[in-house]
Amino acid sequence: MNVAVASGKGGTGKTTVTASLASVWDGPLTAVDLDVEEPNLHLFLHPEIKGRETVGLTVPVVDEDRCTLCGACSELCQFKAISVMGDLVMTFPEMCHGCGGCLAVCPEKALSPGNRDLGEISWGRAGSVNFVMGQLRIGEAMSPPLMREVKAKLPGLFPDAAGDVIIDAPPGTSCPAINAVMDSDIIVLVTEPTPFGFHDFKLAVEAFTPLGKPMGVVINRAGLGDNAIYEYCKARNFPIWAEIPFDRRLAEAYSNGRIVAEACEDTRRIFTGLAERLRIVSGQKAAGREVSHA
């Protein structure tokens, strides 16, 4: 099973939920931090890092001797990353999305693949859990290419560890968030019952529903705010998979770098319950697939 932990609003407790699930998970698990702009999972899982790799994006490099300034590259480029101005061809590598269009379209073979540093992938082990994270280079604007690299690298990293995957996703509902959740089997949305949390939760539901995956919500800091999210979930039959009460002791445990599932027995039970729910949903999904194939 591949579970993505996402949210509309930031700071609702994605990393808390991911780390806690990892702590109580039964069976082999790989925890993946795909919040590459601000990865925090390692601060709670404390993995022993066994490998690192800098990854890049293919961007064009111009051979000016071959270039005839025909302009085919700049005409095709949708991102203003290559431009012919007078008798000069200029590249703006930081604008490039790495589509490879310019390299393919150049009739003179004047462009060759160069590299833009996207950031770093590191991996290791935290107790019995495999760990992988991407960390975007500061100044790099695009996180989806790095996220794609992390996902592509995943199968080769722990060849002996068939098992479940849990993804800590970035906040929001735009391209980085969608990229993080689109290959998962189940999406866990984490929110808090405040107007901000509820508003952004609705945006996330709207963004992720077209992916057609089972989704449920974990309500963190239950007791804060108001009842709007409960009414919404009830009216739409949207499953509430767990509730974590608003408790200053949990906030303090988090502030000391502790996994809240390990802070007290009550919280631990909440997460073992959530893990069981996810197993059931995953089983139902697999059964549904068998039925539809029969």
Binding site: E38, C99, V105, I138, A141, T173, S174
Partner: protein
């Protein structure tokens, strides 16, 4: 004209609640919500929408099944795995399509159209503290950086037209494209963090981003009483790093209460926290004048 941006790296540290309180403390700023992905400022400021426009940016490939000859070249060339086979026919997965046009360019049958994509809506509004510019990206849409740039241009035009000299912006979490776009032209970035390992870790990254783009920055620790040791560590790190340490705000249940009531925390009468927030705003204002002159 000065531009002040409230950002945090980590989400949920209190950017929006504090931006709204600063908007109250300021003298008619142009208020600008640059979190176009999950905007919340309007929930507190309850603006009256005066103008709404669609935000069209970029394109999306669409395969015409009738014309397609099933050669599969598009699928081979797409670097984003956006060409999928559905019932034996090639189709574009709009969620993965980056709008790069490679498939359109190289399709030997000319079977791929390339319509513009509507990515969101943006608004010019008025709220009780001043004019407001804000937007909402469509769920799953791209080009948030371009929308941020557009909002900033609109805010500047509005400030000029109304003779206002301050733009107060609420930013997005993270350090990626919308945040980088929101730093352009900013005189002072106010970094709001919390005393947790994530808060400090993400503060370091957002501070490095500000340094990278040569934007002066100050630091506020919100919910500071949650962990006084980490708060002290953040203060020490900020001062060592040449950032102005602006203030510490304790956790206050009035923050969620303000959200529920659609109010700003400084609208609950005279409180100690309210006074501290106003005092901090005065410090931010004068710091932004210094950095604006220096620039």
């Amino acid at each position: 004209m000065r531009e002040i941006l409230i950002i945090s790296g980590k989400g949920g540290t209190g950017k929006t609640s504090l931006t709204a309180a600063f908007a109250h403390a300021a003298d008619r700023p142009v208020i600008c919500d640059l979190d176009v992905d999950a905007p919340d400022l309007h929930l507190l400021l309850q603006p009256r929408y005066e103008q709404t426009e669609t935000f069209v940016s970029g394109h999306e490939a669409v395969i015409d099944a009738e014309t397609c000859e099933q050669c599969g070249l598009c699928a081979d060339m797409c670097r984003f795995d956006a060409i999928v086979q559905r019932d034996g026919e090639y189709a574009v997965d709009p969620i993965r399509c980056e709008g790069c046009k490679v498939c359109v360019q190289f399709c030997p049958a000319n079977a791929i159209a390339f319509p513009e994509s509507e990515c969101g809506l943006w608004h010019i509004s008025t709220c009780r503290f001043g004019p407001m510019v804000h937007a909402q990206l469509h769920p799953g849409a791209e080009n948030s950086g371009r929308l941020v740039t557009l909002l900033k241009q609109q805010a500047r035009q509005l400030a000029e037209k109304q003779g206002l000299d301050l733009i107060l912006c609420d930013g997005a979490p993270g350090v990626g494209c919308p945040v980088i776009s929101s730093l352009a032209g900013t005189d002072l970035a106010v970094l709001v963090t919390e005393p947790t390992p994530s808060g400090l870790h993400d503060l370091k990254r957002i501070a490095e981003l500000c340094k990278h783009f040569k934007t002066p920055a100050g630091v506020i620790v919100n919910k500071s009483d949650l962990n006084p040791d980490v708060t002290a560590a953040i203060k020490e790190w900020s001062e060592e790093s040449g950032l102005t340490y602006l203030a510490e705000f304790p956790f206050d249940p009035d923050f969620p209460r303000a959200q529920v009531e659609g109010k700003v925390i400084t609208e609950f009468g005279e409180t100690a926290l309210g006074a501290l927030i106003k005092q901090t705003w005065t410090a931010i204002e004068s710091l932004s004048r210094v950095s604006s002159r220096a620039a």
